[in-house]
């Protein structure tokens, strides 16, 4: 009887030992499986993109089908225009909403409500944002425009900026606010030049994350900015954008265009990664750190 129970316990121990190692193996394996496609995407992108990048890509506009060469210069400039327009709308609104949440609405029902709608806005599919801006701006104006694309991107930037600004402001110790107010500084001045300045590295990082997120967005631009094969910087006309151009070229049947799509994708990724890395670098060890 005792031996049997002992043996059963032994078997049980083996089972537990085995399950433990199996679980470890599965966890390690799934990490490898997850990291593998990332590495694959990056390496393939580097390989394909680097072999088709040349100076023409940055200086020329797209050529018609059949002619080789050509580049995406107009799309790069167009993306820049769209992102500047988007930032002009999204950054001030987002930061202001974040300031409200952290400095005025703390703990209130209204703040919770605003926080919740920001989360909802964050979850709205980008294609739906495209339709909404189409209905709001393109339909009344009766033509596609860079302005509409910029508005769509700007709205998509707001929730990220709002939430990071709020989080960063909440990390600023209350003593600093009290010190400012105690010196007789008006509250708005204290918020802008003391609290916000102290939190600025984090706030800027949030803005850059939002920027990086919308820089690659294609769906909201499909029927707002629409794309353009020629030079245009006017905000009242359809404008080219890098992600749009990549999409059009990727689904086309021409090898030459596929090559350009890979080059475009590489430029887009580098733009996103470099801008985020640069801001991380500047905010962690550059001049801006002096504030905190």
């Amino acid at each position: 009887m005792t031996t049997r129970r002992y043996k059963a316990g032994k078997a049980n121990q083996w089972r537990r030992f085995f399950a433990n190692h199996l679980a470890t193996a599965i966890a390690v394996a799934s990490t490898v499986i997850v990291v593998a496609p990332l590495v694959a995407v990056f390496l393939y992108l580097l390989y394909k993109g680097a072999s088709s990048l040349n100076l023409n890509f940055f200086t020329q506009i797209p050529r018609p089908v059949g002619e080789s060469g050509g580049g995406m210069a107009n799309a790069i400039v167009g993306s820049a225009v769209l992102l500047v327009l988007g930032s002009l709308l999204g950054v001030p609104l987002g930061i202001a909403a974040g300031i409200y949440l952290a400095e005025f609405g703390r703990g209130g029902k209204l703040a919770n409500f605003v926080r919740f709608t920001a989360d909802v806005l964050n979850g709205v599919p980008s294609i739906v944002m495209g339709i909404a801006v189409y209905a709001l701006i393109v339909l009344p104006q009766k033509h596609f425009s860079a302005l509409a694309g910029g508005v769509a991107l700007g709205i998509m930037m707001i929730p990220t900026i709002t939430r990071t600004t709020e989080e960063m402001l909440l990390m600023v110790p209350n003593a600093i606010r009290e010190a400012a107010l105690g010196l007789g500084v008006p509250n708005w001045r204290s918020v802008l030049s003391i609290t916000l300045k102290t939190a600025s590295p984090g706030v800027i990082t949030g803005c850059m994350l939002a920027f990086a997120r919308v820089a690659g967005e294609t769906a909201p631009l499909l029927f707002t900015a629409f794309g353009n094969n020629f030079w245009s910087t006017s905000i009242n006309e359809p404008i080219a954008a890098l992600p749009l151009q990549i999409y059009v070229y990727a689904i086309s049947p021409y090898d030459e265009w596929h090559r350009l799509a890979w080059a475009g994708a590489l430029v887009l990724i580098l733009l996103i990664v470099v801008s985020v890395a640069l801001v991380r670098y500047v905010t962690t060890r550059g001049v801006l750190k002096g504030a905190s």
Binding site: R16, F17, N20, A23, T24, I26, A27, S30, T31, I33, V34, V35, P37, L38, L93, A96, A97, Y100, L101, R106, G107, A111, F116, D119, V120, G123, V124, P125, S126, I127, V128, G130, I131, A132, Y134, A135, L136, I155, T162, L170, M171, V172, N174, L181, G182, N187, W188, V191, G216, E217, A219, F223, P243, Y247, A261, A265, L268, I269, I272, V273
Partner: protein, 341 residues
């Protein structure tokens, strides 16, 4: 013991100001109430409040516009719009069922692939990983989230689809063909390809949120289970996963929300044919990709209205899904007491 709640121990508070539920301190309200520069302060406060409320106005405006512009089909078809599979722009007969089917099926495939992997990654990174690897690995998984949708689509078209067509699909047809899920012509593109690329795209979201939830489980839980002689896996299963499961479900639902609305990559590989077929290898169409493909060609008002109604449905569903997910994640990370069941 069912329903016994254990206090979660001292919450990690980095500074007194980091708790958003806490009202401003007494000193601060005193200083504020002295009223130097009263009007400029009030104006500033109202300006900030206006900006905060504009977030709500934007959401309301989106909803209103979608509703307004889809009133033609809402009036003509009513609820039957969502249960019909006709899609005939010429004769003006529209039903969204094939697109709903495509969206739901490709998202489910994505979840089936992504959830076990994401939880595995989260378990590895929080409980097993050597400290040296943790930073770079979590950075890598976050980086997956920074790659734009259209680049994933490009990669899927030229790398993933050929791999599926040459290697994976023939294998699936041979071994699992009898289920009927993997039969028919092998195009490479189709529901399965869309599901796989969606899985890659939602993995980082699910795994980073799962990690957040698992880190929120108090250490005393782990120590208690270990002290009873549990192995590491038993500690993870009983001490961590069981306590974090509501939050993990929240993370999964959030990933689902992202998958439902994902457009570009899906459009490039799903095949774009409005059909309802049992086989995952057949071509399909999703709600977001029909909008992306046909919106700029929609010539008459009814066609446009049908597409916008699909957008409206997508909008409402993602709002519901996201709200549910946020509630679940909040319930766990907001210091709710851990439960032993």
């Amino acid at each position: 013991m069912p329903g016994l709640s254990i206090p979660s121990g001292p919450a990690p508070v980095s500074s007194s100001a980091s708790n958003p539920d806490q009202p401003p301190s007494v000193v601060r309200s005193f200083l504020l109430s002295r009223g130097n520069s009263a009007w400029s302060d009030r104006a500033f406060k109202w300006l900030m409040l206006f900006c905060a409320l504009s977030v709500f106005f934007i959401v309301a405006l989106i909803a209103w516009q979608l509703l307004l512009r889809s009133r033609l089909t809402i009036a003509k078809f009513g609820l039957s719009f969502f249960f019909k599979s006709a899609w005939d722009p010429v004769s003006g007969d529209f039903g969204a069922l094939p697109f709903i089917y495509g969206t739901v099926v490709s998202s489910l495939v994505a979840l089936i692939i992504a959830v076990p992997l994401a939880v595995g990654v989260a378990v590895f990174l929080t409980e097993m990983c050597p400290k040296v690897l943790r930073g770079p690995l979590s950075f890598l998984t976050e980086l997956l989230a920074a790659i734009p949708s259209v680049v994933y689509g490009l990669w899927a078209v030229f790398v993933l689809v050929p791999i599926l067509r040459e290697h994976v699909n023939p294998f699936l047809m041979k071994t699992l063909g009898w289920t009927g899920l993997f039969s028919g012509p092998n195009f490479g593109i189709g529901m399965l390809a869309a599901g796989v690329i969606l899985a890659i795209m939602i993995l980082p979201i699910i795994s980073s949120l799962t990690r957040e939830v698992m880190t929120a489980v108090p250490h005393s839980q782990r120590e208690a289970v270990l002290a009873l002689g549990a192995t590491r896996w038993e500690m993870i299963r009983m001490g961590v996963l069981r306590n974090a499961r509501i939050g993990i479900v929240g993370a999964i639902i959030l990933g689902l929300g992202r998958a439902l609305g994902e457009t570009m990559a899906v459009t490039m590989v799903i095949g774009n044919r409005p059909e309802i077929a049992k086989s995952l290898l057949s071509l399909g169409y999703s709600m977001s990709s029909v909008i992306a493909n046909e919106f700029s060609e929609a010539s008459d008002d009814l066609y446009l209205s049908a597409l916008i109604e699909i957008g409206l449905a997508l909008f409402l569903v993602t709002i519901l899904v996201n709200a549910l997910a946020r509630l679940l994640v909040w319930a766990v990370t907001r210091g709710a007491p851990a439960r032993v069941v």
